[in-house]
Every structure is written in C-alpha cells, then in structure tokens.
C-alpha cells in the first residue's frame, strides 16, 4: 500500500462571495494509497459530498491541490481539460441510492462506461460477466433494475463503478438505503474489492459500526480533515 492513489494539499472550498461567503472545507491535507479502504464521516451538511465531488473532479475547489495517481488534476485551477474523460477512466462512483439508468438492463448499465471509453464489445461483455460473477450476480445480466431488490441494485452499482477498472471509487453513503445486514455485506464486498482489485475506496458513511472495516477514517471537523488510521488489530 505504498503507491499514491490520491493526495490533497491545502484544499479549500467556499460558496458565495465577500460577506455571504461560506467556507465548507478549509485547508484539507491528506494522502491515500492504492488499495486503501477509507471512511469519510462527518455530521450532515458539513461538506462530505462536496469533498467527494471535488475529489471526483465534478466540483471545482476554491484553492489547493489535488493529485490523482501521479497526475496533478488541480493546482489552484484545473490542470485537466476533460474532467469527464478522467472520471470515466480513473474514477468510479457509487451513490446513496443505486441510481442505475432505469431504461438500461444490468449488462448495459455496467458496460456503458467501457463502451464510452472505446473498448471493444467482446472485451466489455467478458469483463461485465466477470464482474457480475465476482459479485455473485452473474444470473442478472439481462434483468432491468426495476426487477431487482435494493441490495441487488446496489451491488450492480458497485459493478458499474468497477467496470472501467478505476483507481479510485468514491462511494457516497452506499449503505444508507440498506438494512444493517445488507450494509455490512456491501461494506465487506467493498473491502474485498480494495484488497483484490487494488482500488482505493473512499466511503462516506454515518454508520460508525462500519468503521472497523476501514483502513483509515477521515473526519471533517470544524471544516478541517482529521485522518485517523485504524490499527491492524482493530480492523475487521
């Protein structure tokens, strides 16, 4: 776990200007390695999603620096021309709800991004099958999202996030809509992915019972980011 996945230096995000300016993140500094499973916790409205969107290059910071892998993507201004291209090649997203595209079946939902990256259909189909088998959902290839349960759809959302072989997965409360049993199951799966696929996952959560599954915990407190490493004996 020594290869850098994401590095943030003096990251600031504020909304509004002058008297109405509200600072949400004030000088965040942290560094995450490849294959780490990281929890991001904070009270509601304290900027978790804002931080996640900035790390995903979907929201422009006010200042600071973001490095993904060995590439500087933001240094007081965007250093990349096409944020979408970066996202579809390097970053996977998992949301609170599965947010699968309702008019695409499971195979199409997962293969959308690889196709957009210009990959060949044969390769894409093979990978989709592998990912679904990996997540024990291999028999749901041609189902529509509406035909699956919430937990199954969330697994498909994880599959979609893995489809472009990302370096980082940003998961915004992926267990919020699930009961405790399913939440633990999803978190275990995410942890397995970090270990076996060498992917860094940053997971926003309110559920402190899930923290022992993570390697690190990022806490937003007073607009600052506190980094806490889970000691090996505490990690489940």
């Amino acid at each position: 776990m020594d290869k850098n996945a994401i590095k943030v230096e003096n990251l600031v995000k504020s909304f509004g200007e002058a008297d109405s300016e509200v600072v949400v993140i004030d000088g965040a500094n942290f560094s995450l390695s490849k294959g780490e499973f990281v929890a991001l916790i904070a009270p509601s409205g304290s900027g978790k999603t804002t931080l996640l969107m900035m790390l995903g290059c979907a929201l422009e910071p006010t200042s600071g620096k973001i490095v993904i892998g060995d590439r500087i993507v933001y240094d007081n201004k965007w250093k990349i021309k096409d944020d979408r291209a970066l996202r579809r090649k390097k970053i996977g997203f998992i949301f609170q709800s599965h947010y699968l595209i309702p008019f695409l079946n499971i195979e199409e939902n997962i293969s959308l991004l690889p196709y957009q990256n210009g990959e060949k259909p044969k390769v894409v189909k093979q990978r989709v099958k592998e990912i679904l088998d990996y997540l024990d959902m291999g028999d749901k290839l041609y189902n529509m999202p509406s035909e699956l349960s919430g937990g199954q759809n969330q697994r498909i959302a994880i599959a979609r996030a893995l489809a472009n072989k990302p370096d980082i997965i940003l998961a915004d409360e992926p267990t919020a809509a699930l009961d405790q049993k399913r939440a633990v199951s999803v978190v275990k799966m995410l942890k397995k992915i970090t270990r076996e696929q060498d992917v860094t996952i940053i997971m926003v959560t309110h559920d402190e019972r899930l923290l022992p599954y993570c390697d690190k915990v990022l806490t937003i407190k007073d607009k600052k980011i506190l980094v806490e490493e889970n000691s090996d004996e505490h990690i489940i």
Binding site: K48, T49, T50, L52, M53, G56, A58, L59, R84, A85, L86, R87, R88, K89, I91, G92, F93, F95, Q96, S97, Y99, I101, P102, F103, L104, E108, S111, L112, L113, Y115, Q116, M144, R160, N164, D172
Partner: protein, 381 residues
C-alpha cells in the same frame, strides 16, 4: 455502443407514443387550419377556373359578377360574338339561395347557363354521375354534398327540376355548393316574380320585370389573340366592363375573400406560434424529466455529446412520429368539415421543419440547463 435514445424509448414506449400522438394531433390541427386557408383561396378561384371562359363582360363601372352585382342584357352576347378575336360567347347567371332537404339546410349557388353554348361551364372532370344539361327546361346538375340522387325531383321556385348529373367539389367562391340549371330556368328563378309581387308592382305602375337579364357574358377567345387586348376593345365598343380570367380571379382574391382569408391566415399564424411554444415546452419538460439520469451519466463520465445525441435523437423521432400522426389525423377529419380543406404535403413538411427546429432548440436548451446543474444535486449531496 449502446443507443441510449432507442433504449429510453423502448423502456417507456407507450408514454412516448402517446406524447407523439398528442403532439401530432396539435400539428394536425395546425395543418387543418392551413388547409382551411388554402381551401378558401382554392374555392374562390374554383368556379372561374371551371368555367372555360377567357373574358367576363359585366355591367359598366362594376366589379361583377362576384365582387359586385352586375346585370346586362342577354342579347349582349350576340354583340360580343361579333367582336374581333371572339370564338364564342354565352350568357350566365348566378344566384345564391337557401335550400332544405332531409339532410338539413344549406346554401347553394344556382348557375344558369346555355346548354347549347360551346363554352363549358361544368368542369367535366368533376361530373361524377349522369350528364350535363341538354334541355332548355327543368333539368338540374347538383353537387354530391347536397345528397340529391340522380332522377330525383327538386322544387325550385314554382317548378320541379329533375337531377340529371352530380358533381363533386364544385363550389362557389364562398364555398357554397353549386347547382346548374339552364339559362332560361335561371332567369325565371332570378327575374320572374310571384303573381302577388306582379300585382303589387302593377298597382304601383311598374310594368312586369325583364326576364332577359343575365349577370355576365362569358366568351372564349380565338387562338393567337391577347385576352387583355380583346377585353379593352370590347370595353370601348360596348361600354361594358370586361375582365380577363386572371383579372376575375384576382378580383375574387382581393375583393371578395381578402378579409376572410386574412383573418384565417392570421389565426393560422397565431396557432402555429402557440403550437411551436407548446411543443417546445413538451420537449423541454421531457428533457428536464431526465435530469436525474443525465446528472448520473454526467457524473460517471459520459460525454455531453452522448447525452445530447440521446435527447436530440428522441426529439427528432418524436417530431417525425408527430408529423406522421398529425397528417393522418388531418386527413381523417378533413372530410368532416363542411367547406373545402386543401391539405398540401409541402405545407405539412414546412411545418414539420419549423416545429423540428423549435423542438431541437428546446431540447438543446433543456440539455444546457441539465448539463449546467450541479451533479451533486442528483446524488442528494
């Protein structure tokens, strides 16, 4: 690559079709409105086009016989016949009356013409049953829409007329059905009064009416003669007003139906504008309905091009289906209208292009709005 538009439409096929048909009905109404306008213009010229006359001789200082009342003596036709360049001349009368049969009340224009004349007054292409008049009395050719049958007897004035022919789409400049009778019968109908009226006139010292009046003399011109020059010569020789066929049509358009057609035209333009706004709003709303899906697509890295392509493809397909269903709707209801509706494919096509451009703009505006939306709104951040 997955065709997102096709997938989205397949997923909500019935909703898409219902929307397309609804938009199509709206388009159909606009197409019909354009057809009403075209029909009015067509009808205005129809009778003058049907009558194979090159010039119309009418009462001096009038714009007769359609834009203004005109009465000339029947024997004027002899004088016209001898004019240089005239092939043949004939007298004609027009009278609008109200009629009633078991199908209801309707207005008809009675055209009186000389059955022995060489000038065709009834357009033979429009004669769908029977024959033209070949007797000087008590025969009548009717429009199909009056519902009279061949051989049926119709009372007009004091006499009964036998239906010998049926025409289709023969209408007056006002869109009323046409009925053709012989000139002599038409003169009796128009210029002969009832016994009571004659007695009343006589008690006032007015001696009987003149049944030998007509509304106009129509004439055909020999090949090689200029209608305008012949008309000018006749005006000088007879002290009557003479119009060429084109002038008569222009009179009908400019004097008779100008205000009505302008009114319909204005209404059509307003309807087109309102329809464009409604259809653009439907498309815009359809695009905004996908805000969550588009935000997700955007967030996971799908390009604006792919997203825009999906929306524009759906818009074009919706427009195309609406165009088809609108035309079908217009053609289905066309026959139910009492007056002529002229549906021209070119009008529908131009309308389709206008609506399509407006719809694409509306969808692009919707896409712009969706793409500008903060994606975190889609994931509830």
């Amino acid at each position: 690559m997955i065709n997102l538009a096709y997938k989205d439409i397949s997923h909500s096929f019935s909703k898409f079709i219902v929307t397309a048909i609804s938009v199509g009905v709206l388009l159909g109404i606009v197409i019909i409105m354009i057809g009403v306008y075209r029909g009015m213009v067509f009808d205005a010229k129809s009778l003058v086009d049907d009558i194979k006359a090159d010039i119309w001789v009418v009462q001096q200082d009038t714009l007769g016989p359609f834009a203004q009342n005109s009465k000339v003596h029947e024997d004027l036709k002899e004088q016209i016949s001898y004019q240089n360049g005239i092939k043949s001349a004939s007298a004609i009368t027009f009278e609008t009356i109200q009629m009633q049969n078991c199908y209801g009340d309707f207005k008809v224009m009675i055209v009186g013409y000389d059955p022995l004349s060489n000038i065709d007054v009834i357009n033979m292409d429009k004669l769908i049953a029977g024959r033209t008049i070949n007797k000087q009395h008590y025969e009548i050719v009717v429009s199909k829409k009056t519902h009279y049958k061949l051989g049926e007897s119709i009372k007009l004035g004091r006499d009964y007329f036998k239906v010998v022919g049926i025409t289709k789409e023969s209408v007056s400049n006002g869109g009323d059905y046409l009925m053709f009778v012989s000139l002599k019968d038409a003169q009796m109908l128009q210029f002969t009064y009832t016994n009571e009226r004659v007695k009343s006139d006589e008690s006032r010292g007015i001696k009987g009416g003149n049944p030998h009046l007509v509304n106009a003399i129509i004439a055909e011109i020999k090949d090689g003669y200029n209608p305008k020059r012949v008309a000018t010569n006749i005006e000088e020789a007879t002290h009557k007003k003479v119009f060429t066929k084109d002038e008569q049509k222009r009179l009908l358009l400019e004097k008779v139906i100008k205000k009505s057609s302008k009114q319909i035209g204005m209404f059509t333009v307003i309807l087109i504008i309102v329809s464009i706004v409604i259809i653009a709003l439907i498309i815009y709303t359809m695009t905004l309905e996908k805000i969550k899906e588009i935000s997700i697509l955007k967030l996971i890295g799908i390009s604006n091009w792919t997203i825009s392509k999906m929306i524009v493809e759906e818009t074009v397909l919706l427009g195309f289906l609406a165009f088809i269903s609108g035309n079908i709707f217009a053609r289905l209801v066309q026959g139910a209208f009492p007056k002529r509706i002229v549906l021209e494919l070119s009008d529908a096509f131009i309308l389709f292009i206008i609506i399509l451009i407006a719809s694409i703009f509306a969808s692009l505006f919707g896409i712009y709005k969706v793409i500008k939306t903060n994606p975190s709104e889609a994931i509830g951040g």
